[in-house]
């Protein structure tokens, strides 16, 4: 691991760029891929310029490890009162001096976001701002360890209730100083912490003004179409067209196509049984992280959203996503046309006033037909059930099942915590709703194979990892085993890992007496 450290001086327009230039030399020396170097440099330079333009000075720290560049730029300065707004292109508070030099066009943070694989901005008004971002230095590195996550945090909304700690299936969340943070190397981009967080400190964020009907295509999930009480899906589609999109398409034909493809593959009996559908990107992430032996069970297909995005080709489109993992999956495809993602929550809120003015009209047409062979499909939803079924498959205890369709959310995508209607009610309404165009979807082969993700290993070097494992056992034994969450980690084992990985100290545990070093 290599660590680089630079001072950034306020107002030093001529010296600006020194840190990013030096960083570039380092990255080239270690053989980083050239596109990654370019993206890293643009992000680092923008972060550096932000300090020069806005702050009273700051530091840029960069670490390179395991094919990943992590940059942390911390400044002392005015802070950012409204981060989502600052992330929006065109918004700027730069001085006229900065503007005269061609900066301050409100593109700095959006530029970092566009070029980094992950970005997190936190700020305290009157104190300063921290911009952290990561760039995967080798294309395949994106399949190892940390990966981009779309989960957003609004730390100031945190009530310190810590429900998120327990909810997270991979122990990725920590709450310290009443601020939630998510460890990207184990986050699977699911909705568990979002569902557990009543105040909305952990959520999927929308950029302000993200829902602009500028004549492009709006893509929506069935759960949105069936989420307006007795209004049939057709009515909802009508109203959606009215808010300025040239066309509104539903993702369900692609869900159906994926299901057919998975069933076909299961029917041939080639490959390991059961075949697991990659319909839910969060479950795919879970399998890659915690069930590496099951990676070969995953049908090598893209998620329905990705298949739809591919079919839209060069058309501009906005995708109404139900969870972080769908957003990440869409963005990871590197689309060629202008693409936006918004949350289903935002679209629903925009539509409510329109539908409130309409009397529910009965839909027409027959109820939705089931895909052929669907009787052979085991559909499982909800994180605890998914974990149980994956364990059964791993242990060879799930005999007789040829195809599994797992969803992290309770009730599948109908159960997204970003939607208001109960999952079972919405699913029922959808099943009973009129059969509009449901063909035309197709499944899509993945361009990159699924891969086990070593996010939970203690060190890239196995000898070091073994030493850390021994320390982990000792640290765990020294803790009380109450799993109380007071330290901000979900379990004593998680705190022990934090201590070994130098993310926390034993002093966070209220039960360990400092002089004894063990729990009383």
């Amino acid at each position: 691991m290599e660590r680089l450290d630079y001072d950034i001086r306020s107002g030093d327009f001529n010296g600006a760029g020194a840190a990013s230039r030096d960083l570039k030399q380092h990255l080239k020396r270690i053989g980083a891929e050239s596109d990654a170097v370019r993206r890293a440099m643009i992000a680092a330079y923008e972060a550096e310029m932000n300090v020069v333009i806005h702050a009273d000075g700051g530091r840029l720290e960069a670490t390179v490890s395991d094919g990943q560049l992590d940059v942390d730029v911390v400044d002392r300065g005015p802070g950012i009162p409204d981060i989502p707004r600052a992330m929006h292109e065109g918004f700027s508070t730069a001085s006229s001096e900065a503007r005269a030099l061609g900066f301050g066009a409100g593109m700095g943070l959006p530029n970092i976001e566009r070029n980094a694989d992950r970005i997190r901005v936190t700020s305290t008004v009157g104190e300063g701002t921290r911009v952290s971002f990561s760039v995967m230095l080798r294309p395949e590195a994106a399949d190892h360890g940390a990966r981009p996550s779309s989960l957003g945090t609004v730390p100031e909304l945190c009530r310190d209730c810590r429900h998120c700690l327990v909810a997270c299936p991979t122990a990725a969340v920590r709450v310290r100083d009443a601020r939630p943070s998510v460890m990207d190397h184990v986050c699977i981009d699911c909705t568990c912490c979002i569902a557990a967080c009543a105040p909305g400190a952990l959520t999927l964020l929308d950029a302000p003004g993200a829902l602009i009907g500028d004549g492009g295509v709006l893509a929506v999930p069935p759960a949105l179409l069936a989420g307006f009480g007795e209004h049939p899906a057709g009515t909802v589609l009508d109203e959606l067209r009215g808010i300025g999109f040239s066309a509104v398409v539903s993702v369900h034909p692609y869900e159906d196509a994926l299901r057919r493809d998975v069933l076909d593959r299961a029917a041939t009996g080639d490959g390991p049984a059961p075949v697991i559908s990659p319909v839910c990107p969060a479950v795919v992430n879970l399998i890659e992280l915690k069930f590496p032996a099951l990676v070969k069970h995953l049908a090598p297909l893209a998620s329905p959203w990705e298949a739809l995005q591919r079919d839209l080709g060069e058309r501009d489109a906005t995708f109404a996503v139900s969870c972080p993992s769908q957003r990440t999956a869409l963005l990871s495809q590197q689309p060629t046309a202008q693409r936006r993602t918004v949350t289903v929550r935002l679209v629903r809120e925009a539509l409510l006033p329109h539908l409130a003015a309409r009397r529910p009209a009965p839909g027409d047409g027959a109820p939705r037909p089931q895909a052929a062979g669907a009787d052979d499909l085991l559909v499982v939803s909800g994180v605890s059930h998914v974990l149980a079924v994956l364990e059964e498959i791993e242990d060879g205890r799930l005999g007789g099942v040829t195809a599994v369709e797992p969803y992290i959310c309770d009730g599948g995508c109908f159960g997204s915590p970003l939607l208001a209607e109960d999952a079972f009610v919405a699913a029922w309404r959808w099943a009973a709703s009129a059969g509009d165009a449901r063909d035309g979807g197709q499944s899509l082969e993945r361009s990159r194979p699924f891969r086990a993700r070593p996010g939970i290993r203690l060190d890239a070097d196995m000898a070091v990892a073994i030493r850390k494992l021994a320390r982990l056992d000792a640290e765990t034994a020294a803790l009380p085993g109450k799993d109380c969450g007071v330290c901000g980690a979900p379990t004593c084992a998680a705190l022990a890992e934090d201590i070994v990985m130098e993310r926390a100290t034993q002093a966070l545990c209220p039960y360990v007496k400092p002089e004894e070093g063990t729990a009383s």
């Binding site: 570039k24 370019r38 030099l101």
Partner: protein, 115 residues
């Protein structure tokens, strides 16, 4: 088309003879907003701009541009030239305005990102 041929066709004054002009130029970008340049300028391309300060070179280097043409007869300081030579970026100046320079580049087959 090679950079030096472009310079000849457009009657550009070369400011950095120390940098060789045999780079093949296929794409270009015109903007005075440096973040915009960073975001959109094509790798290996030429930039037409009015900005002549040191940050232009930093941006051109990060965006991996081959050359910068300063429009409207704007000339950078010596330290800017020295930096450009160090980074291997060719600098040119033209009395023509941005619009005319871009138009003539286009006629020579240098296109933008989407053409």
């Amino acid at each position: 088309m090679k950079l030096e041929e472009i310079a000849r066709e457009l009657g550009l004054s070369e400011l950095t003879p120390a940098v060789d002009g045999d780079a093949e130029i296929a794409r270009g970008y015109a903007s005075d907003l440096l973040s915009d340049v960073l975001a959109h300028a094509p790798e290996g391309g030429v930039l037409v701009t009015l900005q002549v300060h040191l940050n232009v070179i930093a941006v051109a280097s990060h965006a991996e541009l081959a050359a910068v043409i300063f429009a409207g007869n704007r000339r950078p300081d010596e330290d800017v030239l020295a930096k450009a030579v160090a980074e291997g970026i060719s600098l040119y100046v033209s009395p023509a305005d941005t619009f005319d320079i871009v138009g003539r580049l286009y006629a020579l087959g240098v296109k933008g990102n989407h053409a």
